[in-house]
Every structure is written in C-alpha cells, then in structure tokens.
C-alpha cells in the first residue's frame, strides 16, 4: 500500500469535456513527486481533488488505504491534518490582518490539535529558516520569499504526511526560487512532497519522481532522472526541448 493512491480518476466540470481521464499514480511515503503539465493539462483540477475540494466523477483517491470521502467531515478533518498545501502567490495566500504567529498557528486551531502551540509554531518557523522575532510581525513586512517560508511553516506546523506544493516557487525571483526549492527538498526528507508545476527545471531539482500530464491524461511517469534523460512520449520530448537553457560557456 502506498501513502497516496490515485486510481482511475475521471473528472469534468458539469457536462463539459473531460478534464482528467483515467489518471492513476501512487506516491510512496517519503517520496517526492512532481506533476508537470501546461495550461489545460488538468494539473490544477488534480490538485483540487487531492485537497479534497472536489470529488472525482469516477475512481478514488486514498490516503493510507482510506478513500477520500468529501461528505464525511470527520474524515476530512483527519485528511486535512495529513495533507497540507502551499500555493503559488505568497502575496494573496496570507491574511494581511493576522500576525505571523496567528497565521502559522491557524491549522492547529482549525484542526483542533492539542499540545503546546507556541512550541509547535516555533519549531515550524525554525524549520523554514525564519527567526523568532518574525512571529509578532505581519505579512506586509516580509519579502516574497520570506512570505513563502511563512506559508510553508503554516503547512508543516501540524506535521502532515503530505505537503502539496502548487506552483509554490513560480512567483519568486530566480535566486529566491533556488533557496525555496532547497527548503522543500530538505523538508521532503521528513514528509512526502507532491509538487505541481509547469516548470520542468524546478521539478527536476526538487522531485525524485515525475508524472507528465497532457490534456487530462498521464503520458509518461517514472523516476525524474530517467524520464528527462530518455523522454519516450513526444509531448515530454517537446516540453523538454522547449525549456530555454543557458548558453554554453565561452571557456
């Protein structure tokens, strides 16, 4: 049994055309998986399903063998404790009126987690590389990269088994992006990372495994290293060939 099992998932909005078709993959505990695709590939819909925000039309998503049932609120509370997310825009994902402490402690409150919240928040803050003086401050006092660290601290404070990252570094500057990818990589040693992104370079840097989505279907999957070294599907090949690279050095 894998930690996360996505099995034969179909989805469409209303009677629209299918957004996801027969999507199946498994994530082992402690692995890191990148889900790559362009606009219209269905990656955002897949993420909504993984978060339990919508139900698949067919197929199941299971955590530790238990299928998500979005109508079962006590199950969903347990599920949310185990599956937390970091989103793309660090400017809109943090409540500007809450202090950093309140933002990071929010999952502990809403999931009714017992224990020493002050110590848990301090631990999460330390894990993302921010110092304790940050706790009394407000989001607008931080840069984009620091805000994303706050969002990551909020996602890991309840010690989830799975961290979902939705384009979590796309809005960041290049040098900041490198540091946040390194942070996610370091965190993925203690939890399972599922990284949804359009950016192959970022996924290559952060994830051991990769799933390539094209128009709602998985066209290729495997170890990131193998897939990128020998892409088999024409879409993966086109995607890889389109990524601009630095010019070869003069020396």
């Amino acid at each position: 049994m894998s930690l996360l099992d996505v099995n034969g998932v179909d989805f469409s909005y209303g009677r629209g055309k299918p957004v996801l078709q027969q999507v199946s993959f498994a994530v082992e505990a402690g692995a890191s998986l990148g889900i790559v695709g362009e606009s219209g590939s269905g990656k955002t819909t897949l993420l909504r399903l993984l978060l339990g925000l919508t139900r698949p039309d067919a197929g199941t998503i299971a955590l530790n063998g238990a299928a998500i049932d979005t109508r079962d609120s006590s199950f969903m509370r347990g599920y949310r404790r185990q599956v937390q997310a970091v989103f793309q825009d660090p400017y809109s994902s943090l409540d500007p009126r809450q202090s950093v402490f309140d933002i990071i402690a929010e999952p502990l409150r809403s999931l009714r987690i017992a224990g020493d919240h002050v110590a848990l928040v301090a631990g999460a803050l330390d894990a993302v590389g921010l110092d304790a003086t940050s706790l009394r401050r407000y989001p607008h006092q931080f840069s984009g990269g620091q805000r994303q660290r706050i969002a990551i601290a909020r996602a890991i404070v309840a010690r989830p088994q799975v961290l979902l990252a939705d384009e979590a570094v796309s809005a960041l500057d290049l040098t900041t992006r490198v540091r946040i990818v390194a942070l996610l990589q370091a965190l993925s040693k203690d939890m399972t990372l599922v990284f949804v992104s359009h950016d192959l370079g970022v996924v290559a840097a952060a994830c051991r495994d990769i799933v390539v989505l094209e128009r709602g279907r998985i066209v290729e999957s495997g170890r990131t290293r193998d897939v990128l070294a020998r892409p088999k599907h024409p879409y993966t090949q086109a995607l890889l060939a389109s990524v601009p690279r630095m010019p070869e050095g003069l020396s």
């Binding site: 290049l174 040098t175 359009h198 290293r225 601009p244 630095m246």
Partner: protein
C-alpha cells in the same frame, strides 16, 4: 548613425526613495539588448522612462533621448508621435493589453490606420483589412481571416500575444520594447513566441529591448545584456561573455541559479 535610445545618468525618485540611480543605457538601430534583474530592480521603470511614461508622482533627473528628442521634461504632445513611430511595446499579459470588447482585427487596424494617416494616406476599409491580414500572417496566427473577427477571450494566451505583437508591428517601430512578453505563457508557446520575435526583429531591421528576469530566455533573443539590481546597472556586456564570466557578485548569483536548474534537467544536480 545616432542611437535610438540614449539614457545618461538617469535617476528617478519617489519622494525620498531612489528607484533608479545613475542609469545609463543606449540602444543603436538594429541592436538587440536584454535588460535583466529581479523584481524591484528597476528594469520596467527604465523602459517606461525611455518612452516618457513615468508616473506623475516620480521625479526624474539626467537625460533620456529618444531618437534625438529629450524626453525628460517634454510635453506629452511632443512625445506622443514618438511612441509608435520610434518605439512600440509588448507587455507581459496580453489579456490586459487588449480591449476585451473589440475583435482583435479591429484592434490591430487602429494603430495601422494612425500610421497610414501619419504617412499621409487615408486608407480604405479594404486596404486596412488586407494589411491586418498581412500582419496576422507575419505573426503566424493560424487562420487569420477567421481569427481576426474573434474577441481576445476566444484566443489562447499565445495567440493573444501574437495579436499584441501584430499591433506593435503595425506601427513599424524602429525599436520594439518587449517587457516579459513570454512570462505568462506555457513553455512550448514561449519557445514559439521567442522564435517569432527573433525573426520579426531580424526581418524588419528593428532594434529590440527585451526585459526579463529569465536569463536563458534573454540569451535566446539578444546580443548584449544590461544587469540591474536595486535601481543600479551593475554589469553590461555581450550576452555570452556576461553569462559565462560574470564579473559582478549579483550577476554571478543569477547565473549560478539559472545554471542550477539546467543541471537538474541534465540529471547532474
């Protein structure tokens, strides 16, 4: 031949804050220049200053010459004709740059009509239509006859950016300013738009000022780069030289970051 753009010791202030500090930059006819740096480095502001579009609250000192005309302190009336004849700009997000209520063909016809009037010709409807089709063909919009009647929301992001480029071309500018023109696009679409821009610039003998935070993207379309940090130009030189032997610490950190993702793709990270 004199430079299209000559920026000398340009400083821009917002109250007590210095946004640009002693920026100098020149672009010769036909030259392709990349302006790189992270958010807040002042790259877009430099481009806006070059075409005299600084926000009213900002104060500028130094010199900005656009085709020999001093921009700083000039009336909008003096600058209006230069925007379009000398420069045209393509922005990051084509959906906000286009009018949602007009079919795209008519949006291209507008700057086209102005240019033809400027050249002393009042074009007929048929002539305008034909020229719009030619422009849409130049930017490789598939099925231009049908698509010119479409509204922006009916086109994909890449197709919208092609329309925005066609609008810029309609002005026949000597300098095309492209501000992060591919940042909002998918990577396969980005590759197509970059190829298109490179071809159009070469075919029309235009100069290009390409603004981006993405180093490998810039490397595809320019000859020379200008690196900005916190409103200051920290390094400038031929793109191959700057990217392979960066001299300034900041450029070094940018190049190292870009190369780290390249290495990850090669599987050697």
């Amino acid at each position: 031949m004199s430079n299209l753009v000559d920026i000398g010791n340009l400083s821009v202030q917002a109250g007590n804050r210095t946004l640009l500090d002693n920026v100098s930059l020149s672009i010769a006819p036909g030259e392709r220049v990349g302006l790189i740096g992270e958010s807040g480095s002042g790259k877009s502001l430099t481009a806006l200053a070059a075409i005299g579009l600084l926000a009213p609250g900002l104060t500028a000192s130094g010199s900005v010459q656009l085709a020999g005309q001093q921009v700083i302190g000039a009336q909008d009336r003096t600058l209006m004709p230069l925007r379009g004849t000398v420069t045209a700009t393509v922005f990051q997000e084509p959906l906000t740059a286009l009018d949602p209520l007009l079919p795209v063909g008519r949006q291209i016809a507008e700057p086209l009509r102005r240019r033809l009037r400027r050249d002393g010709r009042g074009p007929s409807r048929a002539e305008l239509d034909a020229k719009v089709q030619t422009l849409l063909t130049q930017v490789a919009l598939p099925d231009p006859a049908t698509r010119s009647r479409r509204y922006p929301h009916e086109l994909s992001g890449g197709q919208r950016q092609r329309v925005a480029i066609a609008m810029a071309l309609a002005c026949r500018p000597q300098l095309l300013i492209a501000d992060e023109p591919t940042t909002a696009l998918d990577v396969t679409t980005q590759a197509e738009i970059l190829r298109l821009l490179a071809k159009l610039v070469a075919d029309n003998g235009m100069a290009l000022l390409f603004i981006s935070h993405d180093l490998p993207v810039v490397a595809r379309v320019v000859d020379r780069v200008v690196v900005m940090q916190h409103g200051v130009v920290v390094e400038t030189g031929p793109v191959a030289e700057v990217f392979s032997a960066p001299r300034h610490d900041y450029t070094r950190s940018l190049v190292a970051a870009a190369r780290s993702f390249d290495r990850a793709l090669e599987g050697v990270a």
